[in-house]
Symmetry: C2
DNA sequence: TTGTGCGTTCAGTATTGACTAAACAGACGG
DNA sequence: CCGTCTGTTTAGTCAATACTGAACGCACAA
């Protein structure tokens, strides 16, 4: 049934939107998740019924995040996109940057406070500590994902 | 220096905004992070120079997330807010719900696909697996945070 | 060179949503 | 009861931004 994949694409659009990411980026992700073969910009624009400009912008956004990647066929000037084989590790890396940024800002905040009461200092240290431990866990997960990904040799060919 | 805490408050505002959360909620969080004593709505509105309505809305948002909590003083009708003692575990729980929701949506998507090629099915299973492992790690972290938090008996009194 | 087929960019539009200010509702003390 | 001091809600405004459509630039082929 075609409706099922449409429903999934739409669900991904809403899911991304909930996270403050453009809905079209989510639908794009959904579309590529269920498509085995890479898609051209025009294919995607036609399939999702949105302008080519939106597809261009959002596909480059997802490409920058490492969620999808661009591939080319010899003798074909068009760009094709597909889910990146290392999508998962890239997403973990992105999340780690996120956590690290928060930790940094908390640390700077604590350092800049002139004479914080012990309760406040402890509150900051505890929060910073949580970010540190989270970073560790994400790092471990990343290591495992990378290791598994390395085994399943990439299908570069196209 | 008063400017340091102002800078931190503003940084938190921007940080939250980057995550798609209202800037005022972030500034509110920053303000309560550096304040030892609970703050009333009017204090916060005055300190952040925003309307009372915004403070009301955003403080209830943070309260719902478990990041801050409402406390009361006997003989005082006003509500006061402070950073919740169990803020960290509540944030972890929120993150877990997040991950669980994505996992659910991916699972539903895979189940609804009529006859996915093996490559697609594997792609979905791998993504779902990552969410599962992430949930496990977050669960472990949550357990540790809860255990530590239980030891440092809450200062309920106010 | 011109023409064609790409992807990108950009001005303009529309929509979302944060924020304000004022009206509102409820609890308390008189 | 009435007035006061709360917090909440809501209509309205404004800014941010997702999205469109068209112009643009570039590379290749003839």
């Amino acid at each position: 049934m075609q409706g099922a994949t449409n429903a999934f694409i739409e669900t991904m659009g809403r899911h991304f939107e909930e996270e403050g990411i453009p809905r079209i980026a989510g639908r794009l992700f959904g579309l590529l998740m269920v498509n085995e073969d890479p898609c051209s910009l025009d294919e995607m624009a036609d399939r999702l019924q949105v302008s080519k400009g939106s597809i261009s912008t959002n596909s480059r956004l997802l490409e920058q995040w490492g969620v999808i990647e661009r591939v080319n066929r010899p003798g074909d000037r068009r760009d094709y996109y597909r889910i990146a084989p290392d999508m998962e590790s890239r997403m973990l890396e992105r999340q780690m940057e996120h956590v690290a940024r928060l930790r940094e800002r908390l640390r700077d905040g604590l350092d800049s406070l002139p004479a914080p009461p012990e309760g406040i200092a402890e509150r900051f240290r505890s929060a910073i500590d949580l970010q540190d431990r989270t970073l560790e866990l994400l790092g471990e997960a990343l290591g495992r994902v990378r290791q598994r990904g390395a085994g399943a040799g990439g299908r570069d060919a196209y």
